[in-house]
């Protein structure tokens, strides 16, 4: 019997009491109490509404109104060939595949990893890696105050678990591929990823959310990533959900001294998307690069919520988010930078640029700086506009066709956020996704 969750008739609590009995690790007291605590918090908080300042521009009523079932699994409906469009060419890759939130061993690709590195699915790690989990799981993502994080924490059952021990360079990118084959009833998955990178390491992790059909479902994702001292980690989020899907995703990063974190988000799919990026620069001398590209059309809604917390001195953060909005779509960029007391010599920069391709597309951009230290440099800038006619004319006056000039300008705009990606195969993949998006737009315009 599958479990159904809805706001009606106390459905989330009811569903939880059935879920927790059979969930992975239901025998572990510490995990049980985290889940219980989380569901209590969730029922206290309820789904956010536009009255909450953090959700001013995004109404999740369509999610709150829905009734979702938790899919048992969809394994068997998906073949290896279904995965190829979502794989990165020309590079050895380590890939965990999840179908409707459940790990599929057959579809996953295991590679030879350096000694001590662990790449597992969470349901399995709950059994074999209890110590690491107990120390880290749900320690960073704020389920006390964030409703969707609380919901995920209460219902987490599977996801990616990555552990990289001290002084290890992992050459192969690690890909967590989430595939939805939702079926005709709306469903919910709560992917939970835990990434622990110890000191002096290097690694790249890609999370990708895709769909094989056009059904309604909610991917409610939480990723906790701990970056040890002097380590350098790249995190990529590629969101290609179905046109009717909801995707709420939270990346919570904890950075130790002199660590370096690069986060890239590429949002293209979904009907209602919320991308929360929340790094805490906890040690001295950290670097965070937070880039994103959101491209929306029709009635898509894409909300990027940044919360960059500077806790220690001498840390730099750089945010660059570019949006391309077409149709009647709506984009949001809400960029918070919090400089805590004592985080002197913070250097934080935030840029959000938006290109509107239609008269009906809309974007809200909101910088929010909260500074409690006195020797800091924080800058922010936002632009909203159409394609620069002066630039277009300049290129044409040099002999380049109107169409090619337009493409050059658009590609330059989207590339700005992607060009610093260090994993070439992923960069190429993302560049192709962007090109496809433009090609589809051209075709729609022609027909």
């Amino acid at each position: 019997m599958s479990i159904t969750l809805s706001e009606k008739d106390n459905g989330y609590m009811e569903g939880f009491s059935r879920f927790e009995k059979t969930a992975p690790g239901s025998n572990l007291g510490w995990l049980k109490s985290i889940r219980k605590h989380a569901i209590t918090k969730f029922s206290e908080l309820g789904f956010p509404t536009p009255r909450d300042e953090d959700w001013r521009f995004t109404n999740v009523a369509p999610i709150a109104r829905s009734s979702f079932h938790i899919p048992l699994n969809g394994i068997g409906q998906v073949s290896a060939a279904d995965l190829t469009p979502f794989q990165f060419e020309g590079q050895q890759i380590c890939e965990l595949v999840f179908i409707n939130g459940h790990y599929s061993a057959e579809l996953s690709t295991h590679c030879t990893l350096p000694e001590g590195v662990i790449v597992l699915n969470l349901a399995e790690a709950i059994n074999s890696q209890e110590d690491i989990l107990k120390e880290n799981l749900a320690k960073y993502a704020d389920f006390e105050n964030e409703a969707f994080t609380a919901l995920n924490t209460a219902f987490m059952e599977d996801g990616g678990f990555i552990y990289i021990p001290k002084g290890t360079v992992v050459e192969e990118p690690i890909h967590l591929l989430y595939i939805s084959t939702a079926g005709d009833k709306p469903s919910i998955t709560n992917p939970r990823n835990l990434i622990i990178v110890e000191d002096n390491c290097e690694a790249n992790i890609i999370e990708q959310y895709v769909s094989l059909d056009e059904n309604i479902y909610l991917s409610n994702v939480v990723t906790e990533m701990v970056v040890g001292e002097n380590s350098s980690v790249g995190h990529y989020l590629i969101e290609l959900e179905s046109k009717k899907a909801f995707n709420i995703s939270t990346l919570r990063v904890q950075q130790a001294r002199s660590s370096n974190m690069r986060s890239y988000s590429v949002l293209l799919g979904g009907s209602l998307v919320r991308n929360n990026i929340h790094p805490v620069l906890a040690g001295e001398g950290c670097n965070s690069l937070i880039n994103g590209l959101y491209m929306s059309t029709h009635r898509q809604h894409m909300d990027n919520y940044m919360k960059i917390e500077h806790v220690s001195p001498h840390c730099d953060s750089r945010q660059l988010y570019n949006g391309v909005l077409d149709g009647r779509s709506r984009g949001v960029f809400h960029g918070r930078i919090i400089v805590h007391e004592g985080a002197q010599k913070t250097d934080a920069k935030q840029t959000n640029r938006n290109l509107l391709l239609s008269d009906y597309a809309q974007v809200d951009t909101k910088p929010q700086l909260e500074i409690y230290a006195d020797d800091v440099k924080c800058t922010h800038g936002a632009t909203i506009g159409q394609i620069d006619e002066n630039a277009l004319f300049y290129l044409r006056s040099r002999g380049i066709s109107k169409e090619a000039s337009r493409d050059i300008i658009l590609n330059a705009f989207t590339n700005e956020t992607l060009e610093s990606m260090t994993v070439d195969s992923v960069k190429k993949y993302c560049t192709n996704l962007v090109a496809d998006w433009f090609r589809q737009r051209e075709q729609t315009l022609k027909s």
Binding site: D388, Y394, S397, R398, G399, I400, A412, E416
Partner: protein, 253 residues
């Protein structure tokens, strides 16, 4: 090469050019001078094909073709080049990329093979030397963060690569110090040939010491009110534009 007859141009319903006539033959250098707001830049942009400038009357014939029928890109491919008064910054597009794209689309239009990377590199190197353009400037995004002088030099550098038949320079000299002005003038003079013509639009006589014109025209209130040889520029330098404006008013009354 170029024949402009009774050209009337409006921008946002305001008439800027009010019956301009000009004939430019191959091998000639024409200078157009005039006070602010007389329509100098409008003429330059209309020749390059800026769509917001509406031609309400008159015609422009370039090499036997009706120029007004051509798109901006086709004008460039036919051999027209405008060195902008305010070159546009295009973030994310490398200078060298723009140039190669431009050169190859012009070559394609003429039925020539695209230039290979190596050949293009060789050509660029040669022209960079003439214009004092650094490797760094070539790799950077088009005009982004360039100094005023760098932007102007970059325009002439593009002109050198694209080798137009008719080069129009819109106040390329404005804001340049004397050293930069000499580099720009050298770049232009290196291109002078019996097959090529230039229209040098300027506010000041100074550049004409270095790029010596065959004809000087004075544009006042949308019309050419006086034409002459290079000595006219000196006269203007001496007396300003006031006397010509007065003459025009007197003529109109």
């Amino acid at each position: 090469m170029l024949e402009i007859k009774n050209l009337h141009v409006s921008v946002e319903d305001q008439e800027i050019l009010k019956g301009l006539n000009l004939t430019v033959n191959a091998g000639e250098v024409h200078s157009i001078m005039g006070p602010n707001g007389s329509g100098k830049s409008t003429l330059a942009l209309v020749l390059a094909g800026r769509e917001s400038y509406k031609v309400t009357k008159g015609e422009i014939i370039f090499e036997g073709k009706d120029l007004l029928e051509l798109s901006p890109e086709d004008r460039a491919r036919e051999g027209i080049f405008l060195a902008f008064q305010y070159p546009v910054e295009i973030p994310g597009v490398a200078n060298t990329y723009l140039l190669r794209e431009a050169l190859n689309s012009i070559r394609k239009y003429r039925g020539e093979e695209p230039l290979k990377h190596v050949e293009f590199g060789r050509l660029a190197k040669e022209k960079m030397k003439v214009m004092g353009i650094s490797d760094n400037l070539l790799k950077r995004a088009v005009n982004e963060g360039f100094s005023g002088g760098e932007k102007k030099r970059n325009e002439i550098f593009q002109m050198q690569i694209l080798q137009p038949k008719l080069a129009i320079m819109d106040e390329t000299d404005s804001g340049l110090d004397i050293d930069a002005l000499k580099i720009v003038a050298n770049g232009v003079n290196a291109l002078r040939s019996p097959e090529r013509a230039f229209i040098v639009i300027t506010h000041y006589q100074r550049i004409l010491d270095y790029i010596v014109p065959d004809f000087v025209h004075v544009l006042v209130d949308g019309k050419i009110v006086k034409s002459g040889g290079k000595e006219l520029a000196l006269e203007l330098e001496d007396k300003g534009y006031g006397w010509l404006e007065e003459e025009k008013i007197a003529a109109n009354n």
